[in-house]
Symmetry: none
Subunit: 225 residues, 2 copies
DNA sequence: GTTGTATGAATGAAGG
DNA sequence: CCTTCATTCATACAAC
């Protein structure tokens, strides 16, 4: 056993603890991702009328989540939405006609879309942005007679009035620049630098969600690296 | 140096390599989760008029806590509903902004409410009214107006995704219950830094991100290490 | 706790 | 731009 020591790396308990924590976080996040993916795809599958019954359909429909039941309204795919948001956040106001055309072409790589869709989207997005800003400015708070979920005496659980105490999420910032970049840990660095150093490996587009998520057990993904 | 060995854990190079790979996988997946979350929230999260009072949201959400509520939905109290119906039946169509403001103030005497709630209510009420009328007009005609998405030559028709070759769809299934509980990750502070180096992300990033993660049991995942 | 349904809210599109 | 409407999405709640 003594010889073996020569060929191994060592960690202090503290380092080990840090590592464990980090891994736990990753595990949690990853599980959550998988959950989300399941929920979303299940939902979208149902919308497209797919029977879930034992159909091992191409699991690669992940990236372009969307449905469209053959009715009218256009619905941006997640990729499209992301791109639109990115462009919007680039600051340039109303895109020119030329710009719109270009955007449309770009986005059509990721799903059905037309110029008017793009046009409308920007139009609506601008309006939304403005409204949000206004809302953020003045906290149009009406009544403030909420009772903390502190158990008030004699409070019956069956409220005749549907007056329920509520909490809202504080999500002031609506959206932000979205980066499609995926960072990977540099395989050559030590685990001690786990926390800070990551290296961009460029786009991992090929690795769609489906590819990543189709495995409940993350171990199965190991061979990708 | 010899003594030190007693206080550290050891790993073989192979184990180390496996660990590194696993972590790389987690990192990648986690990045994608964040990506996904951003897209989703950007998509659905918007100007919800839910500026309900009691923004009492503990950013830290003490230990046992979780339950940072997800989307909240206003529910009119019976009194409010009655008043709204009364106003609606008064005939005057879409209330002006001024009118809405006034109504809101009035109704806030009987419970939580915001202007957008009122606005939406009238909007939906009008739609419902119209639909009801239409329904009353032609009694339940066992209409064979089956909307089998017979492909109209009209290219306004939208397709799911050009990249998805064949997706056979039958009749769309309506309504699919999705419950995505929102919890807080409780131990991530200081450890989670995935976004730390991402230059293109807004400041609130991590916060909203944390809101979406839940902390399931990681034990079984931890066991691998 | 599952499923169904009513309805509040989000948003693409149209009209002005 | 702004407002309105149609459609879709999601949630509260009831019925089982």
């Amino acid at each position: 056993a003594v010889e073996k020591v020569l060929f191994v790396k060592v960690m202090t308990d503290e380092q080990m603890e840090i590592l464990r924590s980090q891994i736990a976080v990753y595990a949690t996040i990853s599980e959550q991702l998988i959950e989300m993916h399941k929920i979303i795809t299940a939902y979208q599958d149902s919308l497209s009328g797919m029977k879930l019954s034992g159909i091992y359909v191409d699991p690669l429909m992940a990236s372009g989540g969307h449905k469209l039941t053959a009715r009218q309204r256009w619905t941006p795919t997640s990729v499209q939405l992301q791109m639109l948001e990115t462009i919007f956040n680039q600051g340039n106001g109303a895109p020119s006609k030329q710009k719109i055309k270009h955007i449309t072409i770009e986005l059509s790589q990721h799903g059905q879309i037309s110029e008017s869709n793009v046009y409308n989207w920007f139009q609506n997005r601008r309006a939304r942005s403005k409204k949000m800003q206004k809302m953020a400015a003045l906290p149009s708070n009406s009544e403030s007679e909420i009772e903390t979920d502190e158990d008030s005496p004699n409070e019956k659980k069956l409220r005749p009035d549907k007056n329920v105490p509520v909490t809202i999420r504080s999500d002031p910032i609506y959206n932000m620049q979205i980066s499609a970049e995926v960072h990977l840990l540099d395989q050559t660095q030590g685990i001690y630098q786990l926390n800070g150093s990551s290296k961009s490996c460029g786009s991992l587009d090929q690795m769609s969600y489906a590819n990543v998520l189709s495995t409940p057990r993350l171990d199965h993904l190991m061979d990708k690296f």
